[in-house]
């Protein structure tokens, strides 16, 4: 039996969920990067006396890595806790929970990679 849900509709729902997770992901990445910068300034991580350019590059690389990895799963966790009831909306588009988490990871990964690339330039 074939699915009666149009692909475009499924993609639209995935985009809505991915954006929701990305909001939390970016907040987590900002928090994580700030913490790492503070640790770096205190000399606990990396060089305390680095130049502003090196510090900026460090911040961008860390932010990109967090957005692409732990930030996503932290975002999923927050979205799962705060917006749990909304899964019924995505389910109507044929999305199961784990599928949503994994598929939206692709979006987070691309955004994180873009930040990393921006940091490398």
């Amino acid at each position: 039996m074939e699915s009666s849900i149009p692909l475009l509709h499924r993609v639209r729902l995935l985009a809505v969920y991915s954006r929701l997770v990305l909001v939390y992901n970016v907040a987590i990445a900002a928090l994580g990067t700030s913490t790492l910068l503070a640790l770096r300034a205190a000399g606990i991580v990396g060089e305390a006396e680095a130049s502003p350019a090196a510090t900026l590059r460090f911040a961008v690389v860390m932010a990109g890595m967090i957005v692409a990895t732990a930030g996503h799963w932290g975002g999923v966790l927050v979205a799962h806790s705060v917006h749990r009831s909304e899964y019924a909306l995505y389910r109507a588009g044929g999305w199961g929970r784990v599928e949503l988490w994994l598929a939206s990871w692709a979006v987070s990964f691309v955004v994180g990679a873009a930040i990393l690339v921006a940091g490398a330039i």
């Binding site: 699915s3 009666s4 639209r12 909306l89 389910r91 109507a92």
Partner: protein, 221 residues
């Protein structure tokens, strides 16, 4: 036709469903009533495919189906509110319903139309529930499972809602399974009513049978 056979599930030692058999024809509205905790929602979630049950054999149009929600053949109204409170009603319609025809149907409803520009958080509990019921009923699936569709709906709006469910069933040949403690609304909406008791479904032809099966007062102790 949707056929569920041998549906069995237990939560630990609590055997809520014991080999349930259920058949729903296209265009038919089947009501299921039962005491709290008797397994109504468990049964609906098993049919939807979001609950892994101990045993179940389910076919739709003679095809074996697993996780029916993935294929869009079954829509579901959960008991609890699920619409994103931050979104406007018009946006919710475009996300909840894949076909323009079903969107127009809900958008043109006299109770929904004035609220299209409002956020879901600005709707009353009854308005939100009414919208959720319409979304599940009008979703272009073959079967719709409505868990407590009449809860929170004011009496004055229950008649139109019942009529809307019946009209959708007729016009779109969509089969419905409805559970609700508002059993008079279920009796008035459904073509046939079943009582879920002791893990099994039993036919109820009227209020007398509901008493007999221990759902309403005055029946067996």
């Amino acid at each position: 036709m949707l056929v569920v056979d041998s549906l069995t599930h237990a939560f630990g030692e609590n055997h809520v469903l014991r080999g349930v058999y259920l058949r729903v024809e296209p265009g038919e509205v089947v009501g299921v009533v039962g005491l709290n905790g008797c397994g109504k929602t468990t049964m609906l979630r098993a049919i939807l495919g979001t609950l892994r049950v101990d045993q179940m054999h389910m076919t739709i149009a003679d095809e074996l189906v697993d996780r029916a929600y993935r294929r869009g053949v079954v829509s579901y109204l959960p008991q609890d509110p699920y619409l994103p409170r931050r979104m406007r009603v018009g946006r919710v319609l475009s996300l909840a319903l894949p076909s323009p025809r079903s969107r127009y149907r809900v958008r043109d409803d006299a109770r929904v139309a004035p609220n299209l520009g409002k956020r879901v958080s600005a709707l009353s509990g009854g308005e939100q529930r009414y919208l959720e019921v319409l979304l599940a009923a009008c979703f272009p699936s073959r079967f719709a499972l409505l868990d407590e569709p009449f809860t929170e709906i004011e009496p004055i709006h229950r008649d139109p809602l019942r009529e809307s469910i019946r009209a959708t069933a007729r016009e779109h040949e969509r089969g419905f399974i409805i559970t609700d403690h508002a059993y008079r609304d279920v009796l008035a909406t459904a073509d046939r009513v079943l009582v879920l008791a002791g893990g099994e479904l039993r036919r109820a032809d009227g209020e007398e049978d509901l008493r007999r099966w221990g759902y309403t007062p005055g029946g067996r102790p």
